[in-house]
Amino acid sequence: MNEIVEKLTICIEFGKINQKSPFPPSMRGEVGADELTKQALEAGINPAEILEHGLIPGMNAVGLKFSQGKVFVPEMLMAAKAMSTALVHLKPYFQSGEVKRKGTFIIGTVFGDLHDIGKNLVAMTVEGAGWEVIDLGVDVKSETFLDTLGKYPNSAVGISALLTTTMANMESVVKNLKEKHPLTKILVGGAPLNAAFCNKIGADFYSRDPQGAVAYLNNLQNC
């Protein structure tokens, strides 16, 4: 494995954004994800390899630690920021088609609910796992999910809710989506949910953490 790509993985995992960034203290003064991605491209490393072998393993590593309770939200957010900083350099290659995404994931907080921190964490982690993420924000109605799904018909959909009152709104959204797009896989998540509720409303998968969503989506890709 190329040394730059290996270092990039470490920078993502530990949230080292760039040389200026003081975090983590053990990497103070060293170059970060920003500089290393540029270096990798300048060294002629294939952008797909940078993504597959540099960035994605870093996000997977921190996501796994998060799901195991070994790191908390701040570490996830710093890793995601390092990841998005690196992705800026890869954007032209996504646009040209030279680097392929694993698929498209549409995500939003269900209508009636304005909570978004958990949803944002999932969006960032899924993006960091190599998926194109279309984040519809909060208070998202069925029509908005349907319109977006119309534009990206092979996407998976993620719906989030934080309140017991708003999780009930998921049922109508799932029903409306499944009526028009029966093959679309729908993931649900949020503090008051569980797998039984997911089954009851006809969604396909409940994930208690971002890494669970990534694992499910990656499996879909392999089916």
């Binding site: 975090f23 203290p25 053990s26 908390f72 009636g112 921190i117 934080l162 009152t165 709104n169 503090a191």
Partner: protein, 231 residues
């Protein structure tokens, strides 16, 4: 009925670095990372607070032991046994609400949209702690007011916590004057501004406050749970 509403000075809100660490659940190494953000939030966050809080003291209070309901002004509230046990001896109920306004939440979301996720998240935590801290002041005022007449007060309980269905928020707000403290309720019972809290406090000579008992509540989002376990 007795209605009180206070404008609470921003400077009176006291939030410690340790409280923010506790909610974040951070290690010593991560503390170094977040300190810069916390410093900025402490410096500028207070200016964004627009705090209003208050309570209405309802004297028409009955309990139904069989249904584990408390009736306030004849409106039944289905509370779980754990809250019922704390409130059942109440002679009066203080229906409270408190908000810090919209500005902290908006600042938080602006930062998040600009990829400053951690900074925005710390503003969000600051807002949650600020509204709880402000409500603590409102509650202390109630405590002093009730002590004069020989009554004690309970802990505060909110729809959405300790098994109390958040849908009962609508009935709770029906007890308060329209637009009390500038708070409105969405169809899904979400308070606007988001950084607002509401609930009941029991009042009576046999009523007293207790330490927070997380084991009787299944909320994974509660600040007090995080503060208790990580603080």
């Amino acid at each position: 009925m007795h209605l009180q509403q206070f404008n609470i000075p921003n400077q009176s809100v006291e939030i410690s670095r340790a409280e923010i660490y506790a909610v974040l659940g951070v290690s010593a190494e991560v503390q170094a990372m977040v300190d810069e953000y916390i410093d900025e939030v402490f410096m500028n966050g207070c200016e964004l607070l627009q705090i209003t809080g208050g309570y209405l003291i309802a004297e028409d209070v009955e309990t139904d032991i069989t249904l584990k309901q408390i009736l306030v002004n004849r409106i039944p509230f289905s509370i779980k046994n754990n809250i019922f046990q704390q409130l059942k001896a109440s002679e009066k109920i203080a229906v409270f609400a408190c908000t810090i306004g919209d500005a902290v939440f908006e600042k938080s979301r602006t930062l998040m949209k600009n990829n400053e996720m951690l900074h925005g998240y710390i503003y969000d935590i600051f807002g949650s702690l600020a509204v709880e801290n402000a409500m603590e002041q409102v509650q202390n005022n109630l405590k002093l007011e009730m002590a004069v007449i020989g009554s004690g007060i309970s802990n505060r309980y909110s729809p959405g916590y300790c098994g109390w269905n958040v849908a009962e928020q609508k009935k709770l707000f029906s007890l308060l004057p329209p637009g009390f403290c500038g708070i409105s309720l969405s169809d899904s019972c979400l308070m606007q501004p988001i950084k607002s809290i509401s609930g009941f406090i029991g009042i009576g000579p046999e009523i007293h406050q207790e330490a927070y008992t997380c084991e009787v509540c299944d909320s994974s989002q509660c600040l007090y749970r995080n503060l208790k376990h990580n603080g």
